[in-house]
């Protein structure tokens, strides 16, 4: 049975890739492009489901499946197989990616109808999924990095899909550049790992020569236990390596210093936002952290960093989400916040909880984004919540599914978000009370901004009558319904007590299921109640004041908070900080180079060389006067010199 | 001692040959005029002396006393030196031509048996050749090639259109025909295996090269006639076209020098033809004559007789050639200039090349028997000549050039 799994696994990334190739080279119309793209990803989903079941049935004997298709790089010292690692972690991720991906594809057919470049869009979308699957299934860091860069590239391409818009172009470039910063960290980490262990594969496998083993670096953790004399403070090598990995993760998963790209990524088509935020891209960072869990376990220092970065991100995201007008930016900052939750879980050592939240969040955030897409679609591409209101009546399906998603995000019992988020908060409560406090506030804020959004978008009266809202087509609503169902039931995969996910992940992540005691139950009840209360209060507050909102008016709480609200709205001025600290100096240096150094220095140098060469050639050219006799004279000079040399010097 | 003796003898020889040659020239003019006259059914000069024998003297006196004119626009130095340049090669060419064999100190036998020429380099061995050098034939070619300068320079220095054209024509003609001349001679050289003129004469004893080198001989005759600018190749001085050619502006003795050089060269070329193809001074029975006489008047006397007879034989043979030359002049019309060039480059040169190749092949393939060599080469030669004549026939009646009456002219 496992043999059939090994037959299936390479197909998972290959099918979307083939779809990409087909769309890239052969398909020319929107309809077939959407069909091909959806079909490939859909088949990939079915296959991953099959593989998952087969693996689950026969997986007991073998904790993972390492499938080397061929050796990508085989230079003696550096051996990089093009291999797929199929274990409980990657199989779960595969399901999420293909499942949510399929729904987003279906949704895209409806959403992107009438777009200028649908074929290109679907090609990129397919490539995105293929790259994400490569990332998830890679059995070594370099192949993972290929997928890592691949999703980075695809995000750039898709965010900039409507590149006619300046903001889209800027957002695409921003996403790309910010991600590169993190990638540099990951690259350095890879180099360090290779230098330490001589291998980039995760787990040991057969050496390509057929004899011996190609060690996996996760199996040879002893290499990382050496002490590295960092100036002023010795640290374990594992800390250095994992810290470098953490830099990569902050880039890809939009953690604190590098989170700025994600809100701007809303410039892409909404399904792309869903894909980036839910199933792919941002989850890659968390996935990577889970993947290198043995290393993290060795470095309490890095885990502390992870913890605090996550907490900070969670609170930044939550507060910023509270002060957005753009329906999608709210969700974007919400994603940032939720990613912070996951990272905190990793930092706490609650890897299963992180993955659990990753999965549930993937489902309900996809639901929310697709729902917001539906709203935007209905509102004639209007994204400002001040221009919406009262869409509940026009968009019933969207409203109800969105409501499910929002409640799940707010952590209301018994939706998926409740289970996963509560588990993280429970862990925090147990380990670090400050972080618990931060997360607790963040989760209340989550309920607040979701209530605000629901109130502003769906309740009250329609404030802007320039469009006629209408329910989206079936192609868009059906995925919403499926996701809503998923959101409702997804909690079961790791219900307290059953710990299904914990058990499932046992071969990969050696983590005992957290005990489920009275304090946890009390905590859960308290958080849920507070969350529900916050949600209701916020809904009520905004529902009452929504009618007075106009296109440019301030938030009702702006009067009370003022500059704080402004700061939240600007995402804690991180963009401004970067602009002032990095972009402006860089720009002035570039300006100096462009306006002073280049024309005076480089051009001057080049012109000078040209002028001197011109002068020289003019001078030399005068010797070439065409007079035969002058040439003969020069010849004679040479003869005299040579003969003189032999007469006088070299007798 | 030997050196000074040799030098004196050389000087004596040179003076004798120079005087003899000029005298021969003088009487050749008479001979030609008389013969031409006879061929044209008239009498010729017969007033000065009995049968006009003093006519050359009279001509000389007349030329000496003519007014010497130098054209105002002439290039004086070259104008003056040109006749000298013209006459010098005509004289020095005689240096290597064996005129006879008079072994003064030894036996006449040495003339007929190379084995007895034990002292080959001794001056006394063979008297009548002025300088017996081993590059004799090359010397001949070199000197003939210098002959062009006199005419060319005279034509240029006169600074006159007609003279100039004559000079340029001569330069082109002489350079062109030199090639076939040299190649024709090459056949004889290959047969003889030597460049030494005496040896060439030696080798021909009993088997003159005219038979094996028949083709070469014909080519030599044609191209040497052109080389000495003799009718029918005398376009250089065609009166009708060039008003006399290169020597139009010359008068008195300077003209006489050109005139003399022409005739001297004619004689020299005839002598070379005799030397190369008709056995030089050799004649059947010459050795027998010596054998007959030596008991009567001693070896030295016999040698003297043989020497004189051989010289006379040589002169006789040359006379025959001279007569032929006059005869040709009387009979054949002058060629057109392009025909001249065509003949030289397109007919004579290929034929000469064929001759060289055939001779070389036969000499190598049939190394020992000179009679068989001769017969084969003779046949080849006749075939080539006949073939060339056949090929040269005008194919179209319209291409036949109108033939005018032979232009017969005497100088003066």
């Amino acid at each position: 049975m496992l043999e059939s799994v090994s037959f299936i696994i390479p197909l998972l990334p290959l099918l979307p890739f083939l779809g990409f190739v087909a769309n890239l080279l052969f398909i020319r119309n929107e309809r077939s492009a959407g069909l091909i793209a959806t079909a490939t990803v859909g088949v990939s989903f079915i296959l991953s489901l099959v593989a998952f079941i087969l693996f689950a049935m026969g997986g007991g004997s073998r904790p993972y499946l390492d499938l080397v298709t061929w050796y990508w790089i085989n230079t003696g010292a550096l051996i990089v197989p093009f291999g797929f690692l199929y274990d409980s972690l990657s199989s779960t991720m595969t399901l999420l990616v293909t499942g949510v991906g399929t729904l987003i594809h279906i949704y895209s057919i409806g959403y992107m109808h009438g777009d200028k470049r649908p074929v290109r869009y679907f090609a990129y979308l397919n490539l995105f999924v293929a790259m994400m699957l490569t990332l998830v299934l890679a059995d070594n860091l370099l192949l993972l990095f290929l997928g890592w860069e691949g999703v980075g590239l695809c995000s750039f391409l898709l965010i900039g899909h409507w590149f006619e818009r300046k903001s889209a172009r800027a957002a695409a470039v921003k996403a790309f550049v910010v991600n590169r910063i993190g990638d540099a960290g990951l690259l350095l980490a890879m180099m360090a790992i290779f230098a330490l262990t001589g291998s980039l594969t995760f787990y040991s496998q057969t050496h390509p020569s057929g004899e011996g083993v190609l060690p996996g670096f996760l199996d040879s953790t002893s290499s990382f236990s050496a002490i590295f004399n960092f100036p002023g403070q010795p640290m374990v090598l594992a800390t250095a390596v994992t810290f470098l990995i953490l830099i990569g993760v902050t880039g890809k998963s939009a953690q604190f210093p590098l989170l700025v790209w994600l809100p701007d990524a809303m410039e892409g088509p909404t399904p792309v936002s869903a894909l980036i935020h839910a199933a792919t891209m941002v989850t890659a960072g968390v996935y990577l952290l889970l993947r290198v869990e043995p290393l993290l376990e060795m470095s309490s220092g890095t885990r502390a960093w992870i913890l605090w970065i996550g907490a900070l991100t969670a609170i930044i995201g939550a507060t910023a989400a509270l002060a957005q007008w753009d329906i999608k930016r709210v969700l974007a900052y919400s994603t940032v916040s939720q990613l912070g939750f996951m990272v905190v879980a990793v930092g706490l050592g609650a890897y299963t909880a992180a993955l659990f939240h990753l999965l549930t969040h993937g489902v309900f955030k996809a639901l929310l984004f697709l729902g917001s897409g539906s709203v935007i679609h209905a509102a004639g591409d209007e994204q400002d919540m001040r221009r919406m209101g009262g869409l509940r009546k026009a968009l019933p399906t969207t409203f109800w599914t969105y409501m499910v998603g929002a409640l799940a995000l707010a952590g209301i019992f018994p939706l998926a978000g409740f289970w996963s988020k509560d588990e993280i908060i429970a862990h925090a409560f147990e380990h670090n009370i400050i972080v618990f406090g931060v997360l607790f506030v963040a989760s209340i804020l989550t309920a607040l901004y979701m209530g605000r959004q629901i109130a502003l978008v769906f309740f009250g009266e329609q404030r802007d009558h320039s469009y006629h809202p209408h329910e989206s087509p079936k192609l868009m609503t059906v995925p919403l319904i499926i996701l809503a169902v998923g959101t409702i039931i997804a909690g079961v995969i790791n219900l307290p007590g059953s710990h299904f996910l914990n058990t499932w992940l046992q071969p990969v992540i050696a983590e005992e299921a957290a005990p489920f005691g009275t304090s946890e139950i009390v905590l859960a009840i308290v958080t849920t109640l507070i969350g529900a209360a916050a949600f209701y209060l916020s809904w009520r507050f905004y529902n009452e004041r929504a009618a007075r909102l106009r296109a440019n008016s301030n938030d009702p709480i702006y009067r009370g908070t003022g500059a704080i609200w402004e700061g939240f709205n600007e995402g804690w001025y991180l963009d401004g900080f970067y602009k002032a600290a990095i972009v402006q100096p860089f720009r002035s240096v570039a300006n100096f180079i462009a306006q002073v150094f280049d024309p005076r220095g480089i051009d001057g140098l080049v012109d000078g060389i040209v002028r001197s060469l011109n002068g020289a050639s003019n001078g030399i050219g005068r010797i070439q006067n065409g007079f035969l006799r002058t040439y003969a004279l020069v010849f004679l000079i040479g003869v005299v010199l040579i003969v003189g040399y032999f007469v006088a010097v070299n007798r | 001692m030997d050196f000074w003796m040799r030098l004196i003898a050389l000087i004596v020889q040179c003076v004798i040959i120079a005087l003899a040659a000029t005298t021969a020239f003088a009487y050749l003019t008479l001979f030609e005029r008389r013969t031409l006259a006879r061929l044209q059914n008239r009498i010729g000069p017969n007033r000065a002396g009995p049968n006009g024998v003093l006519q050359p003297l009279a001509d000389a006196v007349k030329l000496f006393f003519k007014e010497d004119i130098i054209p105002a626009l002439a290039d004086r130095p070259v104008y003056l030196i040109a006749p000298a340049i013209s006459i010098i090669p005509a004289l020095i060419i005689w240096a290597v031509i064996p005129l006879g064999c008079w072994n003064v100190l030894g036996s006449y036998k040495a003339c007929f048996d190379p084995a007895q020429q034990n002292d080959a380099n001794s001056f006394w061995n063979i008297f009548i050749v002025a300088n017996n050098i081993n590059i004799g034939v090359l010397y001949l070619l070199a000197v003939t090639s210098i002959g062009v300068y006199g005419i060319t320079l005279a034509g240029w220095a006169s600074n006159s259109k007609y003279s100039m054209l004559g000079g340029i024509r001569s330069a082109a003609q002489l350079v062109s025909y030199e090639l076939s001349l040299g190649l024709a001679v090459l056949g004889a050289i290959m047969m003889a295996g030597s460049l030494n003129t005496t040896e060439i004469v030696d080798v021909q004893r009993g088997w003159w090269f005219v038979i094996p080198q028949f083709l070469g001989f014909v080519l030599f005759m044609i191209s040497s006639t052109a080389e000495v600018v003799r009718a029918p190749f005398d376009l250089v001085e065609a009166e009708q076209e060039l008003a006399g050619g290169y020597n139009t502006e010359y008068g008195s003795m300077k003209f006489a020098l050109f005139f003399m050089s022409e005739y001297l060269k004619l004689i020299a070329v005839s002598a070379i033809a005799v030397m190369l193809y008709f056995g030089g001074w050799n004649f059947p029975g010459l050795e027998a004559l010596g054998d007959t006489l030596s008991p009567m008047i001693g070896v030295a006397g016999a040698s003297a007789v043989v020497g004189i007879v051989s010289f006379l034989v040589f002169v006789l043979k040359v006379l025959i050639f001279l007569f032929i030359s006059v005869w040709v002049r009387a009979s054949w019309p002058r060629l057109r200039y392009d025909h001249l060039m065509n003949l030289g480059w397109k007919w004579l040169l290929p034929m000469a090349l064929i001759n060289v190749v055939a001779t070389a092949a036969v000499v190598v393939l049939v190394p020992d028997n000179r009679y068989i060599q001769g017969i084969i080469l003779f046949v080849i030669g006749v075939v080539v000549i006949v073939g060339a004549a056949a090929l040269g026939q005008p194919r179209n009646k319209h291409q036949v050039e109108p033939i005018s009456m032979a232009q017969i002219s005497t100088k003066q």
């Binding site: 004279l633 000079i637 | 090359l138 010397y139 240029w156």
Partner: protein
């Protein structure tokens, strides 16, 4: 005796060469060069090279110089230097350099000394005989000989092509 001949001939050669480059008239130049060549030919004889003597006369005086004269006359180019020299500045330079070159030759000569050569044996006298040269030419130097023949052929073709009259298309 031989030295006397050498000195006379050498003087003739030098005068010929000098007059050649001094002469304003190309035909005179050619004639002086002819004189020079003749002198060199005689020097060849002194150097026991009778074959080269003949070749020098036949080729240089008999063919090359005739060609020169022919071209000069044909083109009427005996006086081509009427205008002012455009690069007169190089005249002193040229003379100076030539003098230096000659001085260098002098230095070499004086370094080598002026020892008279020994008389050659009768056998060695044959080095310039046509037979010897023929032997060497067709054995040791056969390849250069053939190549020379090719060069001559190419030259013939080249000359013909160069001075071909363009056939006018009509």
């Amino acid at each position: 005796m031989e030295l006397a001949i050498f000195i006379i001939t050498a003087l003739i050669a030098l005068v010929g060469a000098g007059a050649m480059i001094m002469s304003r008239n190309a035909v005179h130049s050619a004639l002086f060069l002819l004189l020079n060549f003749a002198a060199i030919a005689i020097l060849y004889l002194l150097l026991r090279a009778p074959f080269l003597f003949a070749v020098q006369l036949i080729v240089y005086t008999g063919a090359i110089m005739v060609l020169f004269l022919f071209v000069v006359m044909l083109l009427g180019a005996e006086r081509a230097e009427d205008e002012r020299d455009a690069i007169a500045w190089q005249k002193p330079l040229a003379i100076g350099l030539s003098v230096i070159l000659f001085i260098e030759a002098l230095i070499v000569s004086f370094r080598n000394g002026f020892a008279a050569l020994p008389e050659l044996s009768a056998e060695a006298e044959q080095i310039g005989a046509p037979e010897t040269i023929g032997q060497v030419l067709f054995s040791k130097y056969l390849l250069p000989f053939e190549i020379t023949s090719i060069i001559l052929l190419v030259a013939i073709i080249g000359v013909i092509v160069l001075n071909q009259r363009r056939k006018t298309v009509s």
